[in-house]
Symmetry: C2
Subunit: 202 residues, 2 copies
Amino acid sequence: MTSKLEFWFEYASSYSYPAAYAVGDACRAAGVELVWKPFLLGPIFASQGWNTSPFNLFPAKGRYMIRDLERICGKAGLPFKLGEAYDWPQFSVAAARIGLIGAREGWIESFTKRLYRLEFGDNFDISKEATLRQALDGVTDADRVIAESRRRETKDALRAQVDEAMSAGIFGAPTFRVGTEIFWGGDRLADALDWAVEHAEP
Amino acid sequence: MTSKLEFWFEYASSYSYPAAYAVGDACRAAGVELVWKPFLLGPIFASQGWNTSPFNLFPAKGRYMIRDLERICGKAGLPFKLGEAYDWPQFSVAAARIGLIGAREGWIESFTKRLYRLEFGDNFDISKEATLRQALDGVTDADRVIAESRRRETKDALRAQVDEAMSAGIFGAPTFRVGTEIFWGGDRLADALDWAVEHAEP
């Protein structure tokens, strides 16, 4: 019996941060294979007429998100604050391209946790190469990976990943996917895992 | 020590339906006082430029909502289907006015469960007086309550309730509120209850 869960997340997404810290341990405890799927929400939001995050477009939702993440991160022992030194959400394309390579090579969990911590704990700008290097340092060869992340093949692979998200009906992050079932929101991880276990393929 | 949880819900809201079935038992089990707060999302959506439900405005979200509610209701043993005989979401002002009276008089839980079941289980139109009477039948005096629901005082009270929701930062339904903390989404009931118990006032 194998059961598999895809974790669709966006490096600029605040709610993806505590989910990225929770999903690995939860899948290991449940015996469910985890597939990390970094993608971009920008093109998906744009397709529904949004030019920025819904947390900017709808202020009540934005205020709620900040308070909610203070609670969620507080419970998980993770620091959380939104930076004031840059526009929010951050520009996450470079991070996502590196994430794609990390997913293929098996070091994405360490890189992702470190990058989110820099972004939402310490308010580093993740569009800067120095920040990406700091998250890669000690995880893998930063020079090699950054060079590879800028190749045409990596850019195309990220575009294909976003297309796959759209085809799967994904409209927000984080989203867990098991087969064709999607579960939107970090608070649905347990439901997604239950589904994965109950619908394991022989 | 008293702890109190407000349940803000909208009679047209699909996600409010399973939450209305869960919240009473959950609060009784936790020893938390429950305050039912029916309100309207229409004016809140309008204030952020939406003229209908986000599930209509954003098709991927709408498709997800239907599948997600099939799962949630399936787990809770509740029937769920969206009607095809009317535009969705339904017109819920008359129901909300009755709900306000039921909250004051103590019969709102029975009325609300019955009305949601008629709406999302059997696809009755809740803007019709016959449907409202069917939900009130055996719960309280339908003639008296329907007459009272049409009085100026009741209409004003509902407007005030919507204003209170906006002031509290509520932007969707269901929302649980404990003091000034809000928790959006039926899947956050356990978090809201934990908060209520941990922050009980002496």
